[in-house]
């Protein structure tokens, strides 16, 4: 069974400051890793994904994440945040098994940008 832990339920950050949203996962098999963003009253949108290769993954809106296998982490970072980044961010994991693309999500981190 897989699980995802997002250590911070809420993160307030001043505009133009850097931010890191933490994600740790647990799995008995190799996994794919994802970050999704959910703006108010909207569905989830994929920010970035790690499938294989380089452990540093770049996504949309200036976000990036680094896969660390030894620490089973996939933290999300942005060097300078904007008001428009205010949203809920979800880390998710799925098995590297054909046909088993079920996503297991963390509980989310609410990012609030302070002007």
């Amino acid at each position: 069974a897989q699980s995802v832990t997002q250590l911070d339920s809420q993160v307030p950050v001043f505009e133009e400051a850097p931010v890191e949203l933490r994600c740790n996962y647990s799995s008995s098999v190799s996994v794919y890793l994802f970050w999704y963003v959910q703006y108010p009253n909207q569905g989830l949108q994929l920010l970035l994904k790690y499938l294989s290769g380089s452990t540093l993954v770049k996504g949309i809106n200036g976000f990036e994440a680094e896969f660390n296998k030894s620490q089973t982490s996939f933290h999300l970072r942005k060097p300078s945040v904007h008001i428009s980044d205010t949203a809920e961010y979800f880390c998710a994991v799925s098995d590297r098994v054909f046909g088993n693309e079920k996503l297991t999500f963390g509980t989310g981190t609410r990012l609030t940008i302070i002007p």
Binding site: N41, F98, K102, T107
Partner: protein, 115 residues
């Protein structure tokens, strides 16, 4: 390209009543998912379809929830009878195919309130 469509966007019912949600995935997407997102939690997969067949319904409360995707395109999720703990946002997502370790595209969700 049109996104995943869901209706209604909001629904309020009393406990023990029945309710149905509709989802139309992105054209050409063979795989369809229904997720339940309870306030303060990440989405949880209820059921996954591949075309019109069920791939995974292990977390669907089958005594009260049912879902179908008769023609392999749009899908309906039903709750009968509803309980207070069913209050949540129901998200529909679609992806190109099984084994596609990539993006799931989410609809805006249906917010259900059971009173």
């Amino acid at each position: 390209e049109a996104g995943v469509a869901q209706s209604p966007r909001y629904k309020i019912i009393e406990k023990r009543q029945s309710v149905a949600f509709w989802c139309n995935p992105i054209s050409g997407h063979a795989t369809l998912y229904w997720y339940q997102q309870i306030l303060g939690q990440g989405p949880k997969l209820l059921i996954q379809f591949q075309n019109n067949g069920v791939v995974d319904d292990s977390q669907l409360p089958k005594d009260r929830f049912s879902a179908e995707r008769l023609k392999g395109v749009d899908s309906t999720l039903k709750i009968q009878p509803a309980k207070l703990e069913d209050s949540a946002v129901y998200l529909c997502a679609s992806s190109l195919a099984r084994g596609y370790a990539g993006e799931q595209y989410f609809g805006p969700g249906t917010r259900l309130t059971v009173t």
